[in-house]
Amino acid sequence: MTDWLGPEEWQAVRLSLKVSATAVAVSLPLGLLCALALAKGRFPGRQLLNGLVHLPLILPPVVTGYLLLVVFSRQGPIGSVLEPLGVSFAFRWTGAALAAAIMAFPLMVRPMRLAFEAVPPALEQAAATLGASRLRVFVTVTLPLALPGVVAGAILAFAKAMGEFGATITFVSNIPGETRTVPTAIYAFLQMPGGEGAALRLVAVSVALAMGALLISEWLSRRIARRVAA
């Protein structure tokens, strides 16, 4: 199975999957929280949070990457605090995951927020009158009814993370085996004489993964929607 991909290409694919899965898994709780706060919350600074969440969508990726570099480098305000704790992002695959998570965050939050907004408050009130605490209302009513949107957000974020290029290459460079994901690998192969073959194979992998993610998300949300609406 690995025959048609060279070891370097295979390494990039594996790394991309690891980086994207980590990015989505780690940002999912925060994404849910932000989506919930934006959908149901009434608090000062709501518009500010909304702007912050959407910022990576509008900023040039190279700017996001540079800001990450400034903040998380070994001398940066957060990087220097995390360094003694053994947590490091600069030029590590964890940094690629961080960049991917931040770039994918707006795409994750938006469908989730819309899904939470679509859950009728009337049903949540009914659950409360039946003795359910706010946490239980969320787990048993809000989340199951919003599940199609939550899944769509996670898959969209995964697909975006797989394709992230600008912020990643600015923040953690393009180190084979550490930070060379599929998009940065394609870029590197294209800079290399005779690299077109490898680049094309990775392009095919990218297209297949993106299509696969879309089909799975469609199938999942249709299945869940059927279960929820019945």
């Binding site: 009914a126 039946l130 003795g131 009513v141 009814l145």
Partner: protein
């Protein structure tokens, strides 16, 4: 005792409702927009009053001055909403069990739910949904049940299907119920106490027969909806003509249809506009129901005169025009005849005892 006092500014009007009532079915009755739903939302904890106090059977749920405000999920107040609000992603069985399984088997039997347990809410009729919603609220073991026009979204056939279940609930479950309605027929059938709401305030509180037959309350209830509630016993059945003869404390009346077995006790609503008054006992009239009565009170409103009548131990209510009131020289103490049109008593208005 159910003691409710809530004050809140709502849009363009001030809610300031204050009443106390013994347990039973307490009907919050009034025109739409009179603040009924706001009151029960405050009792449920879904709306926070600006001032007031809510106490149910000795348990304080809200007291502004003492800064007590029990959160919704700790109030143990069951709420049956107008639109059922079943959870669409759960089966009927899971909906029922959501708040607990207090007297599960009895509730399922009483409301006839055993056939529905495996179904999804989307596969239920409106009447079935309301029955499940009632069962779900009961199984959460509430100290008080709130019902916000549980029948208003249903057509006449579905209403007729649910009303007997509600009567059973009142007579068997022994649970106090606060029932919001703007339909006099429902109130007359179900309520023990009536709280009449008018523009955010409580206009009248009292036993159902007393309030509904009070001419002074007609203005708040609405002329079309006004009508007294009487108790009756089935005294005879005429199978050939398809009639039921009812004994009231002040005489006998005959109604079409077979309303039950001989000896059955009923409560009956007689709409004020279906009672005709006469000074002399009429002869040769197609109406069969002529009862001796005495005028107890008169209330003149913009739409006519409401006449309170004593008929044996029962109270009746009639509505006449001002001109008729003058022509009949109506005044308290006058003895006259009340004629009730037999076909005027709708099946909706005939309910079980209690």
């Amino acid at each position: 005792m159910i003691e409710v006092h809530v004050k809140k500014r709502l849009g363009g009007f001030d809610l300031d409702a204050d009443f106390a009532a013994p347990p039973g079915v307490i009907a919050l009755f009034g025109k739409s927009g009179s603040g009924k739903t706001s009151v029960i939302n405050a009792v449920a904890g879904l709306m926070r009053p600006e001032a007031g106090r809510i106490e149910i059977d000795g348990t304080l749920l809200f007291d502004r001055t003492r800064r007590i405000d029990v959160p919704v999920h700790r109030r143990r107040i069951g709420y049956v909403f107008q639109d059922a609000r079943l959870f669409p992603h759960m089966s009927v069985a899971k909906n029922l069990a959501y708040g607990g399984s207090h007297e599960r088997d009895r509730v399922i039997e009483m409301l006839g739910l055993s056939e529905l347990l495996d179904r999804r809410p989307a596969a239920l009729s409106g009447g079935e949904k309301q029955r499940v919603a009632i069962g779900r609220a009961l199984m959460s073991h509430p100290r008080l049940l709130l019902m916000d026009e549980p029948l208003s979204a249903l057509d006449a056939a579905r209403k007729a299907e649910i009303l007997p279940w509600l009567e059973r609930l009142r007579d068997e479950a022994g649970l106090p119920i606060l029932y919001v309605s703007h339909a006099a027929s429902e109130v007359a059938r179900l309520a023990t106490t009536v709280v009449v709401m008018e523009a955010g305030r409580v206009g009248r509180v009292g036993a159902v027969a007393e309030v509904l037959s009070d001419p002074a309350a007609v203005g708040m209830i609405g002329a079309q909806e006004a009508g007294a509630v009487v108790r009756a016993r089935i005294a005879g059945l005429d199978r050939i003509d398809g009639l039921t003869e009812l004994a009231l404390s002040g005489g006998r009346i005959v109604l079409p249809g077979r309303l039950g077995g001989i000896g059955t006790h009923l409560r009956l609503r007689i709409s004020a506009q279906d009672v005709i008054l006469a000074r002399e006992k009429p002869e040769g009239l197609s109406a069969l129901n002529i009862l001796p009565a005495e005028v107890t009170a008169l209330d003149e409103g913009p739409e006519g005169v409401a006449v309170g009548l004593a008929c044996g131990a029962d109270r009746l209510l009639a509505r006449v025009t001002r001109r008729s009131a003058r022509a009949l020289r109506l005044e308290p103490g006058l003895r006259l005849w009340a004629i009730v049109k037999a076909s005027a008593v709708a099946p909706d208005d005939v309910g079980g005892a209690a």
